[in-house]
Amino acid sequence: MGKSEMIIEDSPGKRVLLMGNEAIARGAIEAGVRLAAAYPGTPSSEIVETLAEAAPKLGFYVEWSTNEKVAFEVAAGAAITGVRSMTSMKNAGLNWVMDMFMTLVYGGVRGGFLIVVADDPDAHYSSNEQDTRFAAFYGEIPCLEPADAQEAKDMARYAFELSEQLELPVFLRSVTRISHASGDVELGKIERQDRKPVFDKHWKMPWRWNVYGPPSAVKKHEWLHSRMPKIKEIVEQLPWNRLEMKDGQTVGVIASGIGASYAIDAIKLLGLEGKVAFLKIGTPTPLPEKLVARLLKSVETVLVVEEGEPLVELLVKALAKDINPKVKILGKLTGEMPQVGEINIDVVANALSKIMGGEIPVDPQIEKIREEIKKLVVPRSSTLCAGCPHLGTYWALKRALATTGGKVPIVNGDIGCYEQGGYGIAGKEYKPSFSTESVRYKIDAPYETLDTNYIMGGGIGLMQGEYHAGYQDGSVVAVTGDSTFFHACLPAVVNAVYNKSKGLFIVMDNSWTAMTGHQPNPVTGITATGNETKALCIEDVAKALGVEFIKVVDPFDLKATQAAIEEGLKSEKFAIVITRRVCTLQAIRLKQYSGKKMTLEKSTCTGCRLCVSLGCPAITFNVDENKAGIDPIICVGCGICAQVCPVNAIKVGE
């Protein structure tokens, strides 16, 4: 049985391997979710991917929305009509949602509403390490935080019931090591919730769904506050909050979410079972205050273990002030736990052994050997794929900037596969500069192209600020992708037209939201559940928004792409160049490639490395021979390297 059949199998008690994201989806299915909407974002995407596969079979609605805010509103709308709904997003996705998030809670919901946010400590896939548990605290709604895949499933399932009990959305905070980790999970029963959507604008509260409706927003804020005592009472009884304490224990560990799994294994690793009191936390906000109080009254020292910022630590400190001000509370604020990056068994074990007066034995000789060997371990920068259309766009952009970009052009990026254009090259030394003038740097590979990069759609706004600031030392450029164009760029494009910004905006349209695993988006022409729909056309949208310079080119045609970009750079008006070619991984799936590989004639190759600077991972270079080569296993035969080679050493092979 494959995963997609297993996820909808109604066999309670069966034990299966589930990824955290699949477990969350399964929990929602068990609770009878009727609607799920999300925008993909690593490490959260598999939640709605899993639900999208299940939806047609179980008869509920799932969509990939244009962005997280829209997704949140779609799910909230369903919850207002009394059906169970959910939305999921990555950490940064919540930032888009905050306006609706902070206001929806004033009236709450009627149907259970689950908000899942997957944080990313260590920023494996993210622009920052933000800890979104603070949003649940800020919005005054309960936050569930699972320790493993089993709890992820069970909490997701329970969240709907809790949400309906409180008439508030419930927040489930995952992290990379929950969402992208797998564990054995015991399945529960699948409930059907075939409720008829209903609407009552004065349900239990006048103007329930209109924050401006009388009596007032302040009264609704008061209602929100009135929920908290009830929430606190409930969390005290939840099975995911658990205190294990014996007489004579002087040290306690409070561990939240995945931190509890690390802490349990660290205690075992150190042989400290039964020697430290242990408070496992499944609701970091609000905390089970009575359980925390029992621990604080009994021990002298507490180590707080949590992933992200010191939220639990701060809340425990606040409680200790009245309960037992003498208890020492250690964690991120006191330096026992790291304030950045992610934690693991070793980090917890080190902190705990120091508190217990011991040290983990380290073999200095082995450590020395490890340091020596590390020098051999070459970094492996992630790259664009072999034959990726973005390779062509970046090559053409680099060439066009050299001829027409002025002294120091600025290239503003945003988030998508093409953000690889700003990762730099691991192992290369980049030094800080203290110049008072603009400085141009040599670009060795496409991975050094993007000068700025922050968030979805951020580049097109930055570009306009650079222009209006009066930047004269070179062209200003922004790049984006098809999905990001619709997610976050439309208001900024309108702004550029209306406020008469100049600058070149390149949209790399590969038809898919590729980086997060090839979800469809408004240009793809299919929905999350595989149904055909209207495919939007970026040039039509740009034209409708008032853009006058629009060119569409094929990025595999390097000359034409370079010419279009050069023309855009010279344009007296805001210019858009769309480089359009379907993502190579999709093209391979659709068998649009012949399977032929490129071959390189060594006798002709002069070792100029122009092909290498294309940045294609299939192109190799042998330093001893001073010759380039092509890895036939990786090459897809796209042929752009043949266009780059000045001596025609690269040809299509058999």
């Binding site: 049985m1 299966v16 391997l17 990824m19 690593t42 494996h124 896939y125 493993d148 090591r177 992208h180 980790a181 797998s182 564990g183 054995d184 995945i258 509890a260 799994s261 690390y262 294994d265 075992k268 690793l269 693991n344 068994i345 070793d346 074990a349 082995i366 050997i369 490890r370 020596e372 060997i373 590390k374 051999l376 371990v377 070459v378 970094p379 492996r380 920068s381 992630s382 790259t383 664009l384 794929c385 596969c417 690889q420 990762y423 090259i425 691991a426 192992g427 060795d444 980086m515 991984l585 490395r609 290498v612 600077s613 940045g615 991972p617 190799t620 270079f621 330093v623 890895d631 296993i633």
Partner: protein, 196 residues
């Protein structure tokens, strides 16, 4: 106590994550608990990938502690070495494919790929053992280079260090590879089994 800490390393696109899932599924089917911590790069392909697999009667966290992996299974030699350095236990094993996938850093002349001798030497210095197989060629022999992960699983089973039966692993592989490729993958598994 029956248990195993295993790291499966490779380059994005080589199938190490699916391989790690299949190991964990086989463990669960034979009555053990399992955790898999997946670390993959920002893009789908080309980056360093490592999957931590923890199997036992009582495992909780999804990441192997430093120096805690009894086996590092590598789809690519450099990725094997990358994980051996921090994670291989004393007396541990590096089971690696010999086919190199050069990082872009090496191609543009910013770094040098370690030689096979250097890798062997490093494993020996850390008190470990190394088994090298040309998994890529075996995968091609099975019918497609994409069966590399299953070839390597075959070799892993052949070490006799897995705390569950080879038959269970074989069944799990059959159920989890695309239906059209079952025969090819079974061949790949057999080639791996016989390779050491």
């Amino acid at each position: 106590m029956k248990g195993l800490n295993l790291i499966i390393a490779g380059v994005g696109g080589q199938g190490s994550i699916l391989a790690s899932h299949m190991v964990a599924m086989a463990a669960i089917r034979d009555g053990l608990r399992a955790r898999v911590g997946e670390t993959f790069g920002a893009a789908m392909r080309g980056g360093a990938v490592a999957s931590h697999v923890r199997i036992g009667e009582d495992v909780n966290a999804p990441l192997v502690p430093r120096g805690g992996a009894e086996i590092v299974l590598a789809m690519e030699p450099l990725e094997g070495l990358r994980n051996v350095v921090d994670f291989m236990a004393k007396g541990g094993l590096l089971l690696t494919n010999t086919h190199e996938w050069l990082p872009v850093n090496v191609n543009i002349g910013r770094a040098k790929y370690p030689s096979r001798e250097q890798i062997r030497d490093a494993v020996a210095k850390l008190g470990g053992k190394i088994i090298e197989i040309d998994g890529t060629s075996l995968a091609q022999q099975a019918g497609n280079v994409r069966t590399l992960n299953v070839v390597m699983l075959g070799a892993l089973a052949a070490t006799g260090k897995l705390p569950f039966s080879t038959e269970t692993l074989r069944k799990v592989i059959m159920e989890n590879v695309p239906r059209k490729t079952v025969d090819m993958n079974l061949k790949a598994f057999e080639l791996g089994l016989k390779s050491i």
